[in-house]
């Protein structure tokens, strides 16, 4: 049985350094995979206090997090990490479950670091194909919900799925989400017009409107406003701006596809 460091024992400098690494891993895991910022900071704070630090400060923006820990001898350790915000809720769930488990059966800091790394390296729950199928369902459904007819479900689903695949492909190779989203929405415009020529689908406007829904920044803007409303304006503003930039990219992509074919989309509204 490894020796436990509890609140009653002193935390020397070596222990503090390891604890800082564990806290950084924990808060990055939560923020990177799309948890609420206030929630992730509170979880990390409780984790650190549980392992016996005197004070912990967490400073996070939409793309950077810095953690400072202090023990009772006024030693301080700071570590800052850059991260990219995505949505991977499987990892969020397993991290929260792990912290719950630690609170009930304490383990040493080294073991905690090991387990956080395990979660970080674990495979995504749904493979690429299943996620793209999910996008097919979502785009088709949203084309109908927003105001289309049931004829629009199939073309919007297929166009949106290919748009997401193209966006994922480009964002890996050109390392700019903005241009990748322009390419993806351009492909959506191409597919929607192709289906329009073939006579599949009822209304070009609603096919495109449903098709871009997988790329559209609705949940990003919602998450950004959520952070602003819960006093985390520093992160919230960055997330909102990212959502608006995504919307601009989609508009550019669809506009250029429509210009190519000389279609006035407002005629279809």
């Amino acid at each position: 049985m490894t020796e436990l460091t509890t609140d009653n024992q002193s935390t020397d400098y070596h222990h503090l350094r390891k604890l800082t690494e564990a806290c950084t891993l924990l808060v990055t895991l939560l923020l990177e995979n799309g948890d609420e910022i206030r929630n992730s900071e509170a979880t990390t704070r409780l984790f650190a206090i549980f392992y016996g630090v005197k004070d912990i400060q967490i400073f996070s923006t939409g793309s950077l997090v810095a953690v400072t820990l202090r023990n009772e001898y006024e030693d301080e350790v700071t570590r800052s990490v850059r991260y990219d915000r995505t949505n991977n809720f499987d990892k969020v769930t397993s991290t929260h479950n792990l912290v719950d488990k630690i609170a009930n059966n304490p383990i040493s800091v080294d073991e905690a670091i090991e387990k956080f790394r395990e979660i970080n390296n674990q495979e995504v729950y749904f493979s690429g194909g299943k996620r793209y199928f999910g996008m097919f369902l979502a785009n088709g459904g949203l084309a109908f919900i927003s105001g289309g007819t049931w004829h629009d479900i199939l073309p919007a689903g297929i166009a949106g799925m290919f748009g997401i695949i193209v966006t994922d492909f480009f964002s890996e190779y050109i390392e700019s989400d903005f241009f990748a989203e322009i390419a993806g929405s351009f492909v959506i415009g191409l597919f929607a017009y192709l289906f329009f020529i073939l006579g599949i689908g009822n209304n070009l406007f609603w096919v495109i409107y449903g098709g871009i829904m997988g790329l559209a920044p609705g949940s990003t803007i919602l998450a950004g406003f959520r952070e602003v409303f819960t006093n985390q304006s520093n992160s919230g503003v960055i997330i909102i701006v990212r959502g608006l930039v995504t919307a601009i990219a989609i508009a550019i992509g669809i506009l250029s596809a429509m210009l190519l074919f000389g279609v006035r989309l407002t005629d279809w509204m």
Binding site: T6, D7, N8, G34, D35, E36, N39, A42, I49, F50, N87, N88, F89, D90, K91, V92, T93, A103, P106, V124, Y125, K130, R131, F133, G134, M135, L137, A138, N139, G141, L142, I145, S146, W150, Y209, G210, I212, M213, G214, A216, P217, G218, S219, I221, L222, A223, F225, R226, F229, T230, G243, L244, A247, I248, I250, A251, I252, I254, L265, T266
Partner: protein
């Protein structure tokens, strides 16, 4: 009543479930997220059928949608032992104004500022209403999740460990 209510329910389930797959929500929780999205959208179309669809009323409709989604997300998060964000972020998708945000910039691009103003209003109003509903629902379930409760829990655990030594 909407003439194609069943199709509305089916497509709203498809939309939320599809986004739950894309967000990598655990398998059983994904079905729950789809169901939550269906319930929220059902409330939304019930409101617009029986009360009205005037522009001023969409704040109330989306507020109710947010409250229903938030309450169901909190209940499911208790059941599946997962944070509520994994349920509401996927299931809020049907009313969420992602398409409006795209149309806002599209209409600016073709210099139709009258259309752009409509979509800007819908982005701001719907986002605020939905979030207000979700936050209200989360305050209903606040009990036992605050700091004081957590620290008391830690105190109890520390006492238990001390007694075991």
């Amino acid at each position: 009543m909407q003439d194609n209510l069943l199709l509305h329910l089916l497509t709203s389930f498809m939309a939320s479930f599809g986004f739950a797959l894309y967000f990598n929500v655990p398998r059983r929780a994904a079905l729950a997220a789809g169901f939550t999205g269906m319930a929220g959208w059902f409330v939304n179309i019930l409101f617009s059928t029986f009360v009205g669809t005037e522009p001023a009323l969409d704040f109330v409709a989306n507020l109710l949608t947010g409250v229903v989604t938030g309450i169901l997300a909190q209940l499911f998060s208790k059941k599946h032992k997962a944070p509520p964000v994994i349920f509401y972020l996927a299931s809020i998708i049907p009313p969420v104004p992602g398409g409006s945000a795209y149309m806002l910039f599209y209409s600016i691009g073709i210099a139709r500022f009258d259309i752009a103003a409509t979509y800007l209003r819908s982005v701001l109003v719907i986002t605020t209403a939905l979030l207000l509903g979700i936050l209200l629902a989360s305050y209903l379930f606040r009990e036992g999740r605050g700091y004081k409760h957590q620290f008391k829990k830690l105190e109890r655990q520390r006492a238990r460990r001390e007694s075991q030594k």
